[in-house]
């Protein structure tokens, strides 16, 4: 008797829920789809949450290279960019954003994101750099790199403890620091030399620079020059002067 009342109450409740389910207060509001990543709004949101920490708010002035650079975005091959964003760059501090990480982003989203990035930051469409983004040759001359470095870079980038040859501004730090060179990829060195870090005052390959006498020299670096410089800098990875951490600064 008692349990019959109970079961009819229960049946009533179940039936009511079946009918009224769509109008119950607990029904979650439909998810508002975030704006598509290939729009400038969607791109900006994604960039701000995933990239801005390292590449800087707005794509410049971060510790990692600026991505808000029309020339750079025009020069880096689509597929290379996709692979970098998806898988990261092994052995460096560039994480991958696709695949099976917690925050894993689908391949379609990454492609849309790249379209959004070009829409936002390659506007008007940039010109490709003269020196191609990728490449590098194994028979690049290290001596040539060394000579070039002394003539074109050393006054901004003196080696540790050394003084800048001239009171140039802005002065860079030591790029031949073995610890530094170990932490970055060859491509990073190459990209930095071709496209510079104009936000921090590092000239690109085509920018004029200050010659040994302080005069402005407008002589662009060629592909061979870049190959040679990268090969030269890469030799510092093997430097045997590494001190174990804890023994103080090396600069």
């Amino acid at each position: 008797m008692f349990s019959r009342t109970l079961s009819s109450i229960l049946a009533g409740v179940v039936a009511w829920i079946g009918v009224a389910c769509d109008r119950l207060p607990g029904k979650p509001a439909p998810r508002v789809d975030p704006p598509s990543l290939d729009t400038s709004v969607g791109f900006a949101g994604f960039y701000a949450s995933r990239c801005a920490g390292c590449h800087g708010a707005g794509g410049t002035h971060g510790p990692a290279r600026p991505l808000c650079d029309g020339e750079y975005l025009a020069s880096i091959p689509e597929d290379a960019l996709f692979q970098i964003v998806r898988n990261g760059i092994a052995g460096t501090r560039m994480p991958g954003f696709g695949g099976s990480t917690v925050t894993g982003v689908s391949d379609e989203h990454i492609r849309a994101f790249i379209i959004g990035m070009k829409r936002s930051w390659m506007n008007p469409p940039g010109l490709k750099s003269v020196v191609p983004w990728g490449g590098g040759s194994s028979d690049a001359s290290i001596e040539r790199g060394a000579t070039l470095f002394e003539s074109r870079c050393a006054f901004c980038h003196p080696s540790a403890g050394g003084q800048a040859l001239l009171a140039v501004s802005p002065q860079g730090g030591d790029v031949r620091d073995p610890f530094y060179v170990r932490l970055v990829s060859d491509q990073h060195l190459r990209t930095s030399i071709i496209f510079g870090r104009r936000d921090l005052g590092m000239p690109a390959a085509i920018d004029p620079y200050q010659g040994a006498g302080g005069e402005r020299v407008a002589e662009a670096l060629t592909t061979e020059d870049v190959d040679a410089l990268v090969a030269y800098l890469a030799t510092f990875r093997q430097a045997s002067t590494l001190s174990p951490p804890g023994n103080g600064p090396t600069r």
């Binding site: 607990g26 949450s49 390292c54 932490l183």
Partner: protein, 506 residues
């Protein structure tokens, strides 16, 4: 004619089944066995816990048909259940709330059994199985929260991994086993999925069987009466006699109360689910949300608070030794106090203990809801290193800033007021710590900071310290408004000597 033929055949089937399995006997015994007539409303909580468990199994099986246990799809599949599956959101709501209800009922059941001294002779095994069921239930609740695979899930895993990490010798190995790798990834979700839907429920069903069997075998206890002392020498005989004389059949006399309570609890559950809806999935996969501060489900909030409040020196000990010892003590209670008074009025110490523990857990939970301690999970990708901390840094220091983001130091540490608040703001850390002290802090951690000695290479450590040692709180000095733009042109004014913070000074 045909009717009686069918009936006859059906009866024969039943007899055959009974002959081979003894099922009728089991049914008869479990339904109509006599129970003490004093067992009244106090005894419904165990049944309610079991009822919620059955709700969990039923709703869980349906949910598992739609859920995709892969990192890329878990979130999508939950949204799919919420929005596309007819009444799918209701199912998720019921599964989520019923999990809380099950834990709550279990807790009430545990406290009732403890206060009534029911665990004493001869029901030791019933109690031990019950304690194991309790641990399994918490495990189910924890792994279930991971299934949402959002910021909160990530948090839960992070804390779990941090606790496991503290294990002296096996820390690394255990972490690998728990996460399926060194980091939280898709493999982690697969692991927790199989725990949540196969291993733990399987164990729970098995233990539940043992729990029920031992209840049937030793009978349920009578209401405690002050002055009625449990004495192993005479208890069993007295109990049997009393039950034979004054007991009532379990069905329908006692079962009725169980059914009424369970029915009411079920209605309340459905009401809450309908009103409050499903939990999560939370924020993480939404790329437009920047500052998510995850927290665990209510049930685990107090652990969260305890973790943040414990004095660092005792933390490892308390975390690793505390829970196992506490659980072991609880499980062994029937052997510690097998006899004596059962009535709460004669056991003031037990009542006091319950009060103290309840207050403690309550206060910690309350603190947990207020806490600012949770790391900001996505600061490392979303919170920029402001330009003033990038300008005039050497390439190595820039790599250090990147390592600071990449190693997720930023999730706990703010620079320039932005970032996590779990550790101190490091804007002027170089004025406090020398180069060597920075190295030591990073390698050895301490307090609530993990040790990075094993995970960072020497170059990475060097870069980090090169960066941190530029943080002398004077970053703003070098930045004259517009100076950054001016620097981009080749003939900008010279930077005054000394503005480039040089680690070589230290």
């Amino acid at each position: 004619m045909g009717g009686t033929g069918w009936k006859h055949r059906a009866l024969r089937c039943v007899h055959w089944l009974d002959d081979r399995t003894g099922v009728l006997w089991v049914l008869r015994h479990s339904m109509f066995h006599r129970v003490p007539s004093s067992a009244k409303w106090w005894y419904v909580f165990g049944s309610a816990t079991m009822m919620f468990f059955m709700v969990q199994v039923a709703s869980g099986i349906v949910l598992a048909m739609f859920y995709a246990p892969s990192a890329a799809q878990a979130y999508e599949s939950l949204v799919y259940i919420n929005e596309r599956v007819p009444s799918g959101w209701m199912l998720r709501a019921i599964h989520g709330w019923s999990s809380n209800a099950m834990c709550l009922m279990m807790l009430v059941h545990l406290v009732q059994v403890f206060l009534h001294g029911t665990y004493k002779y001869p029901r030791e095994l019933t109690w031990i199985f019950g304690v194991c069921l309790g641990v399994l239930t918490l495990g189910l609740a924890f792994t279930g929260q991971i299934m949402r695979w959002d910021a909160d899930a990530y948090w839960g895993l992070g804390i779990g991994a941090a606790i496991v990490d503290r294990m002296p010798v096996f820390g690394d190995a255990l972490r690998g086993i728990m996460l399926g790798g060194t980091q939280i990834s898709g493999a982690t979700l697969s692991r927790f999925f199989s725990l949540h839907v196969f291993i733990l429920p399987g164990l729970t069903v098995a233990l539940l069987g043992l729990h029920l069997y031992s209840i049937l075998r030793k009978g349920i206890s009578e209401m405690p009466k002050a002055g009625e002392v449990v004495d192993p020498a005479t208890y069993a005989k007295g109990y049997e006699e009393r039950v034979r004389k004054t007991g009532v059949p379990f069905y329908p006399d006692a079962a009725r109360r169980d059914m009424v309570f369970c029915g009411a609890a079920l209605i309340v559950l459905v009401g809450i689910a309908a009103w409050y809806g499903p939990m999560g999935p939370g924020a993480l996969p939404d790329p437009t949300i920047i500052e998510a501060s995850p927290r665990p489900d209510g049930l685990f909030l107090w652990i969260f608070a305890a973790l943040a409040l414990l004095p660092p020196s005792s933390e490892t000990f308390l975390l690793l030794v505390g829970p196992p010892v506490a659980i072991a003590l609880v499980a062994l209670l029937p052997f510690i106090a097998p006899r004596g008074e059962r009535a709460p009025s004669r056991r003031p110490l037990s009542v006091l203990l319950v009060c103290v523990l309840a207050t403690g857990a309550g206060v910690l939970t309350w603190l947990g809801t207020l806490s600012p301690w949770s790391p900001v999970m996505d600061a490392w990708t979303s919170t920029p290193v402001a330009p003033e901390f990038v300008a005039n840094r050497s390439p190595l220091a820039l790599q250090g800033a990147l390592e600071f983001q990449f190693a997720q130091c930023r999730n706990c540490h703010a620079i320039g007021g932005r970032g996590g608040m779990r550790g101190p703001d490091l804007t002027d850390v170089a004025t406090r710590l020398s180069w060597d002290q920075l190295v030591r802090q990073i390698q050895q951690g301490g307090g609530n900071m993990p040790a990075y000695g094993k995970t960072l290479s020497s170059a990475e450590t060097q870069a980090l310290v090169a960066f941190l040692s530029t943080l002398d709180g004077n970053a703003l000095r070098a930045v004259i408004p517009g100076a950054m733009e001016a620097q981009s042109s080749p003939d900008a004014m010279p930077v005054a000597a000394g503005t480039r913070p040089s680690s070589g000074d230290r």
